[in-house]
Amino acid sequence: MTSPIDSPPGVEGGGASVVVDGEEPKKAKAGDAELVGRSPGQLMWIRFKRDRTGVISAYVVIFFFLIGLLAPVISWLYGKDPYTVYADERPELFDSAGVPVQPNGGISGEFWFGLEPGNGYDVFTKLLYGIRTSLGISVAVTLATVLTGILLGVTAGYLGGRTDYWISRVIDFLLAFPAQLFFIASMPVVVSLFVSPRDETPVYVRVVALILVMWFLGWMSLGRILRGTTLALREREFIEAAKVSGAPPWRIIRKEILPNVVTPILVQGTYMLPNFVTAEAGLSFLGVGIVEPTPDWGQMFSKASTELVMQNDITYMFFPGISMIIFIVAFNLLGDSVRDAFDPKTAR
């Protein structure tokens, strides 16, 4: 016997939402609109809204995305851009090595977050734009990996047999890759796919290369999870019911399987995105990702780890550092909340 604890939660518990057999049809007819049921997604949403941490984290995350989206607007209002070389424009603010002479990294009413040692960019706008670049790339990678994960994972799980075997082997193989090393080694190759090494490397090419490279070694874990989910789903009787009714495989994948892998995708997505943010930053930190003067989170870390900053005023380090911590923490908390909203049984 299935104990009620095993059934989807909130189901028996909903009280009001349980349709009692003896309910009189007439009474029900009164409020036709009310009878439109709440989908699992809606339930999840309701549960999520009740989770205070989750909601706050969501606001923080949204805040970051807004910052990214609105960076041009904000910097226009603020009146500066991240490309102006203040070390040459306002040499009095810097020493000859490019270190801001004012304490605390040159923070002032004019430069809210101070000035970057070296060329003296405005840190505030640089951070805004940096967030924009990093988030843009990470979102793109996440989308790409999710699509690939769905395509390969669901295919492997649903078709099984040989297809499954080979896709799984490919996943195993890629998982044995020394990922970071591969990133570093393949970035120039991928860039050279787009432009001959002697032509200009536009920023978008680097961005695309970053996306491609991270995508290439990023989709496996989701693919694996979706394969597992699909395998489990395939055993679920409603899939068999569809088969018995003669539904073609494509319809089964589309109508029966895909809607049911939304949950793991969302949950995994919320874990993957911050990982891609840090991975992208890592690559830029190592100098194979986004480079000056394109503002980027990782590139700011790279700058922050130069002798110039570490020896002199370390204020600059904190802007990319703290903002990233806030973002990642918020996103991880959001991820936990999303997972809990979908699956409140799991203990924390």
Binding site: Y83, T84, V85, A87, D88, P91, F94, D95, S96, A97, G98, V99, V101, G118, N119, P188, R198, D199, E200, T201, G287, V291, E292, P293, S302, T306, E307, L308, Q311, N312
Partner: protein, 577 residues
Amino acid sequence: SEGGSKGSTNDKEQKENAERQQASIKFGDAAASKGPAAEVPGAKPGGTISVLARDSYAHLDPGQIYVQDEMAVSQLLHRGLTGYKATSNDGKKHEVVGDLATDSGTTTDGGKTWKYTLKDGIKFEDGSPITSADVRHTFERQFASFINQGPPYIQQWLADTPGADYRKLLPDGPFKGKHLPDSILQTPDEKTIVFKFKKPHPDLPYALAMTGYAIVSQKGDTKEKYDKDPVVTGPYKIQEFKSGKSMVLVRNENWDPDTDPLRHQYVDRFNITFNQQYEDSTKALLADSGSDRTGVSFSNAVDAGNLSKVLNDPKLKSRTVGGYQPYVGQMNINLAHPEMKDIKVRKAIAYALPVTPFVRAYGGTDAMEVAGGIISPTVSGYDPSFDPWGKKKKPAGDPAKAKKLLEEAGKTGMKLTFGYINTPEGQQYSTAMAAGLEKAGFDVQRQEIPAETYYDQVSKLDNNYDIFHTAWGADWPSASTVIPPLYDGRAIAEGAQNYSQVNDSKVNSEIDRINKITDPVKAAEEWNKLNEYLVKDVVNVVPTAYYKQTQIAGSKIGGLVYDDIIAGVDPRRLYVK
């Protein structure tokens, strides 16, 4: 702390030193070439010096050596036919004398034929005598393909071709039984070597003093493997070499001080440790404890972060030595590109280009000095007042003037492709330079070039960079190692150093003319004039900065001198106090 900002006090002093040096270097006679070298005041023998080095020595085969740190250690290991003898105790005054040879060389026909005679009693570390056969072998093996890192001068002179075509003269070197004919290189007896050039080369004594032409043992030549384990001739030999980690030098018992006018053998050993970044070595030497008290670095400079602190503390400063390096940074304007042929555009670039980014990226004014011309303060003929583009006054550029020029040329908004070296510094200065140029109305397209192949890329003839930065150092203190290789229009070749691909008939003819001048002082003057013509009228390059260096040593190190020729601490005269 405010990283290396305040104008340093020894600035003036250095300049004076450099000025003094404009007096040219004499070619010494047999008397001057006699060993032993004059005692360093206060020196005493014994002790161990620990040496902190950043990079492991990739090459120890003299034929492969062309980089400063390897050249520095080579002063202890390898000897050539000639060498620089310091005639003052401050490393500023030098004379070229015979090292293995009895004198700095004799020529009878204005520099076409040069004759050298080997001293008596000179031996390799294995005790075998050095003969003219070894000298012949040394020069012939320069043509073998595995020798590809060293200087090309003498090979080119012998083959009488510019560029890299000289290898056709003896494609496999001496290893397949072929030798250079007597019409080029003669070794009539055990002791005599005669070089015969088609054109006069009055600079040969300078060239022979380069480590790249130090003598290699014919018997002991192991070709590629020689690079790790050479047969040395200097006062020290390699006891142990762990590539990437450490190296130990000990006295070479087969070195006879009486044959050597240049070197001393005061200390018992040098313990060299690699992988010491500038800040590591600086920190260790500043701390001055334990073995670091007898510590020194041949090539590591005081790192940018500590520079001002060191220079502003008299106690610390007493342990430092410093000076100019022979390099001059310059922004090349690629004359092969039609758009660059317009002199107004070039002038606009010259006015607009901010040089501060470059100075900033490499540590500020303690490490870099805004340049006026292309002749460095270490080279004869340097003129500190020369500043045609006002860089010394307006190092951030003069966009207004540039803008006007560009407008006049009708090229406002023109594309300017800027190839930059893909290092953190390169990224930093190139972005700021681009910003400065854009203010003048250029549309700058930055293109990264991998650091490891940077010079290969920019020395390609059909590279598509309009501007790119290079630095060039004189191989010896004469502009003859600067202007001809860099600006001789006839030397334009794939991989050659005429980066800006300038081909100006006046420049070419002047080069030929000055090259023939045998009086070094006169020549220096003429070179300087040519420098002014190039920078001001041809505008194929915009000089950016002169390189400076400050080095520090432990308190027990004696004989510490910054040698302008070595461009670093002179290791030959060090002793333990």
